[in-house]
Amino acid sequence: MSELTQELKAKIITQLNLEDLTVDDLDDHTPLFGDGLGLDSIDALELIVMLDKSYGIKLSDPKEGRKVFETVQTMADFIEANRK
């Protein structure tokens, strides 16, 4: 799991151009949206595309995204449970 969270952090930083962040700066439990990392709705779309491209997971219910993209840890849990 730790390997997956590290991989996810690297992908998030690259995909969302978080130029000032490193993998070490990003905590597994930091909220990605709102008061945490401050991501927005376009970032959510980027994350949906990333899940599809990198892990073959399509989010069929957009409301599901709110829970899935809460933290790096929730994303990793979701990927572990759903990846093909």
């Binding site: 969302l16 151009n17 130029e19 000032d20 376009i42 980027e46 595309v49 599809d52 491209k53």
Partner: protein
């Protein structure tokens, strides 16, 4: 007749350190490459990191140059945004098309799609400055900035109390320069900045930049100069006649000009147009070049206006830009004439 517009502030990002306070072309940064990317200022000085991360280079350059212009003009808000861009946000356009091809139309990343349009820089400016007014982008090849300038003249004639953020921006792509090369646009032999203007080799040095101005119909102590008239023409059979007629229509003779700024770029195929003008219509005027230091792109003519305003302010033409030995006692009225690849001719009349 349209009234002149006054320019109160200017900002320029280019392949020279034009964004540095006090820089005025007395020393040039040299390059031996083609294309040449613009120098990056510390964008974070004006743009929050969270916004910056998603901005492509056009948006970054436009926002930074705009902030410089606003800072110089001493204003914090504007009423309208009018920009020109020949090719828009080229990198994101390329990324979008490449994703489209690679993914066969599925799983497309939203950011390059959203930011692939020509008016993205103007939109980013409006969002960043909270400007809900008129927002227009002109896409007319090498006359894109001139079209934005003409619209600014018209807009301010209709809205005389408003202030306009006017500018031009173009960025280099990653793949597009390869297509330009295949089309024979790019210079190979002697591809350097400053580009030798007595060169006999074909091609231009591709570059990028953003140049923005604050314009209104009110003159103030901040005023850097005023634009009296602008005219564009796609095809011109006889450039000297085109320019002479423009001057006549605006009641100015060549004797009343203090200098002329020409768009020579070292492309042997088209620089003859400027040489002919330099030997005839403008033989008795100081002739100033700018593209040999800034490279070529669709909206680089906006940098000529930036330079003219600098010349007014300094009352001096940098030696690095002079094409001849003629000098002028005062520098109060300058004509800008450019064309690109024999097309998109334009003239801009500027006064201190």
């Amino acid at each position: 007749m349209i009234k002149p517009i006054y320019i109160h502030g200017s900002g320029c990002i280019s392949i020279q350190p034009t964004f540095e306070a006090g820089y005025f072309f007395d020393a040039l940064t040299s390059y031996a490459q083609n294309p040449v990317p613009a120098l990056d200022p510390d964008y974070k000085a004006f743009i929050p990191a969270l916004q910056l991360r998603r901005m492509n280079k056009s948006m970054r350059m436009a926002l930074f140059a705009s902030r410089l212009a606003m800072q110089e003009a001493g204003i914090t808000s504007i009423d309208a945004v009018i920009t020109g861009s020949g090719l828009g946000c080229l990198r994101d356009s390329e990324r979008f098309v490449e994703h489209l091809r690679a993914e066969e139309g599925s799983s497309l990343n939203p950011t390059p799609f959203i930011q692939s349009t020509h008016n993205m820089a103007a939109a980013a400016l409006a969002l960043s400055l909270g400007c809900k007014g008129y927002n227009m982008t002109y896409v007319n090849n090498a006359n894109s900035f001139e079209s934005a300038l003409l619209d600014s003249l018209i807009y301010l004639a209709e809205h005389p109390t408003e202030t306009v953020l006017l500018g031009g921006v173009d960025e280099l792509g990653e793949r597009t320069p390869q297509f330009w090369d295949i089309a024979g646009y790019l210079k190979h032999e002697g591809a350097e900045i400053p580009t030798p203007l007595d060169d006999r080799t074909p091609g231009e040095i591709a570059a990028e930049g953003a140049i923005f101005f604050i314009a209104s119909q009110q003159q103030s102590y901040q005023t850097l100069g005023k634009v009296l008239a602008v005219e564009t023409r796609l095809e011109v059979d006889n450039p000297p006649a085109f320019i002479a007629e423009f001057l006549q229509r605006n009641g100015v003779s060549t004797d009343a000009l203090d200098a002329v700024m020409l768009g020579c770029n070292g492309d042997a195929r088209y620089d003859g147009i400027y040489r002919t003008l330099g030997d005839t219509l403008f033989a008795d005027l100081p002739q100033v070049a700018f593209k040999h230091t800034l490279g070529e792109y669709d909206t680089v003519v906006a940098a000529a206006l930036f330079l003219v305003l600098g010349i007014f302010q300094h009352q001096h033409i940098p030696q690095t830009l002079l094409l001849n030995e003629v000098s002028s006692r005062t520098l109060q009225r300058i004509l800008i004439y450019t064309q690109r690849r024999g097309q998109n001719h334009s003239v801009i009349l500027v006064e201190k």
